[in-house]
Amino acid sequence: MTVESTAARKTTRRSSGAKRTTSAASAKKAPAAQGAEPELVQLLTPEGERVQHPDYDIDLSAEELRGLYRDMVLTRRFDAEATSLQRQGELGLWASLLGQEAAQIGSGRALRDDDYVFPTYREHGVAWVRGVDPTNLLGMFRGVNHGGWDPNSNNFHLYTIVIGSQTLHATGYAMGIAKDGADSAVIAYFGDGASSQGDVNEAFTFSAVYNAPVVFFCQNNQWAISEPTEKQTRVPLYQRARGFGFPGVRVDGNDVLACLAVTRSALERARRGEGPTLVEAFTYRMGAHTTSDDPTKYRRDEEREAWEAKDPILRLKAYLEREGHADEAFFEALEAESEALGKRVREGVRNMPDPDDMAIFENVYADGHSLVDEERAQFAAYQASFADGEVK
């Protein structure tokens, strides 16, 4: 599939109504984007109506639909709990995914167990579908570790804070899959801000040149801290892929069905040995960048309100109710499950032990290093000197 054919076959539906250009001035400065409505792959309207797309049809059972809904609800509940825990002083920082549940659950549920995920630091929903214990995600934000899980037990790499670095790790890993002759695939998550990074562009180059089985999943949540997407690019992000020689597609990032269908298609393409795909999930970060951020300084309430109308969870709920795929008992049980999850996370964090002092010196090297050994011994002696003092 070429970019051209993908674009040509897109529906002309004005689906979400969100214009990329927000002012006449910026439209004038950015001719490539001028007058362009976002062309989104969409399977579920903001009102919860199921619509068709010629390239990305998907047929899910009621149980599968309820599963996606459950994933999104629990992820949002977990995220809200983490935000509260930060406010209560239990976490040093939190990067909320509020509003991005569909992009993460949809793409995450497209993965097979043997696929590998390279996240940023906001992929709590993807971690959830990979089976990473949510409490483990909080370790780095609480300051007890820099990771918190074994990447290979869930094929979910550690969170990466330096923007865009992980896209190259994903590409290298995908190159390894190809060398192994396996048909697994890799997905690399990043944001609209990361698209400006050299590493992301180098990842595009390497993956295209080596035909690596990797899907680049860009969650364009419209803001890189305080900078809008217009400060990162003069063309819609999915169109970047064309210059690197692989397809790019923009999907409604608040539509879990479309995110699932588009990601599944891109992964299948990778498995067939046809190389990378760039998926731009057009979505919105409803909260702050992190708990240290103050979005009131750079964006308007009306913007958030407009996006709230496209809430990914509400739209799937409307669809489930409209089609009779879920009853009141389901929603009530899920509410109870959410509360239980919140409680478990809250208690898990509060009971999370501080690391042992000697952890400073652990795992610096796999094969050991004489300087680390020397400093470990000095530190141990220093700590022991206080213990002696207390005894006296």
Binding site: N145, N152, L158, A170, T171, G172, Y173, G176, N363, H369
Partner: protein
């Protein structure tokens, strides 16, 4: 044919060949490493014999080379990447420092990073800007990295084998102006550990500590000093992280005088670290302050000035005289 006389570059080539033969997970990656065999021909003939899947010509993007090597290591491969010249490593510095060096610790030991980054470094070949630098201190300062540099063909062969076998990332600095120096390589020898210093010349009056390209200069200085009746010991440090301080201490307790020599700028350089540590360890043995000979706090100069910038025989001997005069 266990013992051969090989130029240093050829010894590296043989070492890489051995690694590719021994372990199917070893990969060579870098710009021009394939058909051309690298700009210094260190990878000459390897792609022909091991194929494009094992010896990989990379796009011209250093961060990409190191970043994808990290991913390949996560998949179980052992990439050996070539950075074409010292001054070109900086686009990859972010990946090396923020990712490669920390991955093992961040994963609480659950993943290994057996990545070797080969960097031809140092001056003395009349090159243009960015082709003659000695950035080893920038890497040695980073926890999680090991930093080594061979000074001769035998070490080139063996230390590269050891670096590839290490589960830690190793920055492997190759003294490019010694690439064509020949030396004996015993491919069946049992090598010393990667981090151990080597006494390159025994002496009793003063210790010269150096690594990489400066070992040869120090050996020449020791020979010249001998003619003046001074017995100078030369230590080839081989490893800048870790540094074999025990070996330096042993030597200094004997000679009571230490001069550290490197091409990199003296300011914040390896010599500063060695001077500080050896002063702590050998305060009552030293008869003179630890002296340093190295580059200046200035950009590496144009080639017509590099002989003035680089430590040569006279500057080293001058430092020897100053130390012994205390």
């Amino acid at each position: 044919m266990a013992v051969q006389k090989l130029p240093l570059a050829k010894a590296l080539n043989e070492s890489l060949r051995k690694a590719l033969e021994t372990d199917p997970k070893v990969l060579i990656m870098g710009e021009d490493v394939g058909k051309l065999g690298g700009v210094f021909r260190v990878t000459d003939g390897l792609q022909k014999d091991f194929g494009e899947d094992r010896v990989i010509d990379s796009p011209l993007a250093e961060s990409g080379i190191v970043g994808t090597a990290i991913g390949l290591a996560l998949r179980g491969y052992r990439p050996v990447v070539e950075i074409q010249f010292d001054g070109f490593v900086f686009p990859a510095y972010d990946q090396i420092v923020t990712q490669l060096a920390k991955m093992h610790a961040r994963a609480l030991g659950k993943v290994k990073m057996p990545v070797v980054i080969r960097i031809p470094y140092g001056g003395g070949i009349g090159a243009v800007e960015h082709h003659s630098e000695s950035p080893e201190a920038l890497f040695a300062h980073v926890p999680g990295l090991k930093v080594v540099s061979p000074s001769n063909s035998s070490d080139a062969y063996w230390m590269l084998q050891q670096a590839i076998q290490s589960d830690d990332p190793v920055i492997f600095f190759e003294p490019k102006r010694r690439y064509w120096d020949k030396g004996e390589v015993d491919t069946e020898a049992i090598p010393g550990a990667l981090h151990q210093a080597r006494v390159a010349r025994e002496g009793s009056d003063l210790t010269l500590a150096a690594y990489g390209p400066m070992v040869k200069v120090c050996l020449e200085a020791a020979a010249a000093a001998q003619e003046e009746g001074k017995s100078v010991e030369v230590l080839d440090l081989r490893s800048m992280s870790p540094i074999d301080f025990d070996a330096i201490q042993r030597s200094v307790e004997k000679t009571r005088h230490l001069v550290v020599v490197h091409e990199a700028p003296v300011f914040y350089g390896a010599g500063a670290e060695i001077a500080a540590r050896i002063t702590e360890r050998c305060f009552y043995h030293l008869e003179a302050p630890v002296l340093r000979v190295g580059g200046y706090h200035a950009p590496y100069p144009p080639a017509r000035l590099e002989e003035e910038y680089l430590p040569g025989l006279d500057r080293v001997l001058d430092a020897v005289d100053r130390s012994l005069a205390y």
